[in-house]
Symmetry: C2
Subunit: 739 residues, 2 copies
Amino acid sequence: MPDAFTRLASKSHDAMMNVLDFEIFAEIRILWRPTTACAWTVLDSYPSHSCLSTSTYLLDRIESGVSIFGSVGRDSTGSRAGQAAAPPRLSIPHFHKIHQPPVNLGTKIIAISRVYTPVTMIFKTLALLSAISSVSAFAPSLQRHAPSTILRVSTPINADLVTTESNIKKPGRTKPTIDPFNPEFELIQGVPYNDAFPNSTKEYKTATHAETGHELKVPFRRVHLEDPDQPSLDLYDTSGPRDVDPKQGLPKVRKTWVDEREGKFERYTQMHFARRGMITEEMQYVAEREGMSAEFVRSEVARGRAIICSNKNHLELEPQIIGRMFKVKINANIGNSAITSSIEEEVEKLQWSTLWGADTLMDLSTGKHIHQTREWIMRNSPIPVGTVPIYQALEKVDGIAEDLTWEVFRETLIEQAEQGVDYFTIHAGVLLRYVPMTVSRKTGIVSRGGSIHAKWNIFHHKENFAYEHWDDILEICAEYDIALSIGDGLRPGSIYDANDESQFAELMTQGDLTRRAWEKDVQVMNEGPGHVPLHKIPENMRNQLDWCNEAPFYTLGPLTTDIAPGYDHITSAIGAANIASLGTAMLCYVTPKEHLGLPNRDDVKAGIIAYKIAAHAADLAKELPGAQDRDDSLSKARFEFRWNDQFNLSLDPVTARAFHDETLDSDASKTSHFCSMCGPKFCSMKITEDVRQYAEENGYGVDEEAIQKGMDLMSEVYKENGNKLYLDDIENVVNPLEA
Amino acid sequence: MPDAFTRLASKSHDAMMNVLDFEIFAEIRILWRPTTACAWTVLDSYPSHSCLSTSTYLLDRIESGVSIFGSVGRDSTGSRAGQAAAPPRLSIPHFHKIHQPPVNLGTKIIAISRVYTPVTMIFKTLALLSAISSVSAFAPSLQRHAPSTILRVSTPINADLVTTESNIKKPGRTKPTIDPFNPEFELIQGVPYNDAFPNSTKEYKTATHAETGHELKVPFRRVHLEDPDQPSLDLYDTSGPRDVDPKQGLPKVRKTWVDEREGKFERYTQMHFARRGMITEEMQYVAEREGMSAEFVRSEVARGRAIICSNKNHLELEPQIIGRMFKVKINANIGNSAITSSIEEEVEKLQWSTLWGADTLMDLSTGKHIHQTREWIMRNSPIPVGTVPIYQALEKVDGIAEDLTWEVFRETLIEQAEQGVDYFTIHAGVLLRYVPMTVSRKTGIVSRGGSIHAKWNIFHHKENFAYEHWDDILEICAEYDIALSIGDGLRPGSIYDANDESQFAELMTQGDLTRRAWEKDVQVMNEGPGHVPLHKIPENMRNQLDWCNEAPFYTLGPLTTDIAPGYDHITSAIGAANIASLGTAMLCYVTPKEHLGLPNRDDVKAGIIAYKIAAHAADLAKELPGAQDRDDSLSKARFEFRWNDQFNLSLDPVTARAFHDETLDSDASKTSHFCSMCGPKFCSMKITEDVRQYAEENGYGVDEEAIQKGMDLMSEVYKENGNKLYLDDIENVVNPLEA
């Protein structure tokens, strides 16, 4: 199979299919993995857009380098119509070890390589293809960098950055904005990139867009390491151009792309372009960021399984992609309310969010200066911005939900579309007949948008106007290329209400709305819960995939218990990691202030870090190619006592360093071969390093017999050396208790 | 079926079996629940101690009040010998709605009640039986308290208690202890119980031990509520007697129990007593705490599926139980090192840990005054204390691992046994032949105990002395009733190393050691990983259950990614919630300082809260009866805008309140019908409350037609009231932006 890769490298994607002698190269998703066995569902034939197939099979993967696969079965229960389908029948047929090429089992065929799972192979192959082309792939696993200058600046810690330390903002409200057209941005405490990420440099890959010749500059972060085996590791970077005056706004990188497309197409959406076979600048850009082929990106967008949120008026955008086959993304919410916050603070939260890794941002403002707040956010956001337009519409009718009309709502959509909003959350699935289903709930309707629509529905006893005007909404979205994030207005607000009738009734309607949007080439994702206990999470994912035809799922957590206000970034990170590992494409963060108040800057950071953890844990669980490289690099640094690398590779280098320094802050300890947990006598890392080093120096590999020999010899060496097991300079380290 | 319960109430447990017309009342465990369907494994017939059965069946439970169940199958692959068994075959047979009594399907029969899952029913039934007996059950769901005095003291917030706020300790080391026999305990900042838990009272249920007539005082926490429907909720409480001078130590509540048993039995362990059919004071005590019957506790202890860690010299202990059929427990680690910490600080961490809910404590001290530190901890601990005796043994040979001998280790075990240590972590599974398996790892051996044994093994080229002397160790444990926590010295220290050969080799040896311990009536749990990505967690649980005969599993996290030092309480809470939902009985906490330094008081709290969340999320996922009561109460308070109740029911009331007050701190806001997130116009909770209130006042139930009628009428009422949708006093709330 490695040979097949080599042969593939010079061929097109379609040619690859032939080389592997497949009728269809099946795409698969991970359903669950209760044991070593993995359950997969064959979703679709690639690259066609045929609807969901629910054929299932179980695939057992073992670590020894031989994959085992079972035959593909079919299931008649996988209907996605009217009601919750029974779970697919799972069966483990007898397994076959494959040392010969995969055989054709019928119309659905899965390729199994010797060391890769099918998903891995899809990614690796496509990544390889893109690496071969004129630009280098982003995926760190595929790239060995030439040694580059390692920044060895001993950066002092910026105390502002440390979470849960001295930097906690004092309770209190911010100063309201005086002139919304001229905010006092000088109040923003900008954080230098290198303070947040010591020894990292922000870099750009350049690529030429095949069709237009436009040059694409795709950002990434390079962490420079003290590891002779690996001088650097490259990471996905969302931070956007830094050190830009917010009053000027970010550079309009998409201007030429958009201008040249203007007026040439029936509809203006990435999905429309993708279905016409076009690879846009945006598609190639995200392909570079993800380390995938542009053709794969195109096909996923065409299929509706991934979306590129990119309003043609948001020219400052660095495009990214939301979809199950890509890195899991996270969204941060900001926005003022009638009670608190200012424009300056919101822009600061935007910059802060992108610094720490937010992939998209929702501006949920409901307070003063709603238009101008959004304007400043749009002009300074390198990431897609979403809104819930009903909030502003309600402002326009003085907060009286029943006074809302389609005309007011439409006007609001266009106003926001013109500003460049990349996706709209619209709760069109809150139908009149679903509202009574919530009355016996513990916590009723907890979605703001949902409750506004519910109130309107009840008052007028008419169907939800967003549902009634869905086609009109689609026309607007198609014109600007705004993605629809179909809201879950009836999501559960408590464990008690999870997975109830009203929630799933709305989800089914979300599916109908999704298919209607696709008919007009409008990109869609579906919003999901909420509060859901662990054991009820998989049903949410399964229903969404089945009922909404695999449009990206975008969930709020879910929170796995109600009992921890103040810590709901944790209760929800648990649920988020789980649902994302099952296929959710984007996670809406939850901050420690959830249920309690509006998050401040530090809450935003705490929420983002918790969600970067959840998203990454899911990428690992999905075995996304390259995802584990960062873990491996960090663990190697840990094992080799390269403390600086350990800090710099972490999600929050400054906090990691500060926590370490709190116990043991001498410079010596950064390179000493023990740490403050165990002290010099106890470091468990040291012994294995000793054993391994000896084996290496004496030419022994990992073959067991050779190692045994090495150990025998080492036993003697130890004794000869006076049983010295630790570093010679241990004696020089000051023990404060002795001092 | 409710009738059956009534009839059962006056009958014995065995009689219940007859009433329900069962041959065998099967016990089941949750394997996984990927969908609405639940997969269970029938483990054992109750109350016999027969070995693992792997018959499986799928049970679909729907919310509508009718349970559905499938037939029981058998599986030939469920061997628990030498190697990882293939996953049990799962099949969903056709379902039967049962409105008639369950029918006998063969030798294994599962009872299905109309509203309870089988697990629920076992618990509920047993809880009910115990409630009927002379003492009242703890389980809050089974008890409606008579209205009691509600404490309405408006407690000012103790700023010391707020995590991530002003209370963060400044970096720096504590003052070393001057006289270990006379520590300066006055330095401890004791925290009043009511500061931590406003409107809670610490109470005791009294029960009389059937056999001896001893009076048992079983602690719990009662949260007094402003809810007319529910004046209070009772919670499990680990805090122990407060306001006791540490120099005096806690009251010796177990003295008479232990004294009277002394010298009367061949062996002195709870397992020995349980196997002889005795229900000890400890068993009845934990039964009261858990809301289970004492007989059920006895049978679980006899079976080895649960343990009561209770050294006969730890007389200050308030007994508790660790087992899969009970609430998931959490352990907090404390202990000084050569580098940092003092006796005073360790005792303070103990008190702090029990306050926030640690169920057991491990003293991992390796620094100065190791014996006296432990002595002060034992005399002040109401919860079981565990140690890793090899640490102190190593101190005795000046830190030279190869100088360790069985004699030194034995002397240490007896020294600690005499002090009252309740469980020993011993890494007897680190066999000589397993050490080379770790050489090709990314992070080698990360367990301190494991690395000490590994070093000794290699140096001497002899088998692990703890393994060789396992029978001698068992004799000591049997004499004092010390539980063995068989260490996982070869646990993975990175994602890369997860589930590798050495880890599972040791786990299999842990199983051998477990069975040998049970032969001598010694209680056992097994320690588990470590660093494990989400998709590899289930295999750990399954192997442990199979290879270690269902002895309680006790895991460290696991951490689901390596990339977040500084936030590993979160990376690991994700793994912990998952593995506990699959059956892990106790979770060893991880603090934000993991990998970086020794935790201070605030880190300890952060770790405990994260793990209370994980444990509770797992209790919910397992549908442990009564577990959801706290969620339901809190969510009801949230929906009804009872802010104080919402705070007081949370895991950390003070932090929740402080976070809320940060945005909106007027007293009015505590009772106002909106919160700071949305402001008065937007509160989504309000509309549902309006609808529901109207329906109730007008006598409409939740029947859809009736509700529709209510809504029709309400639509009119709304209009008549001038479309007033919110509280009349909204106008009185100050909007700071307008002010």
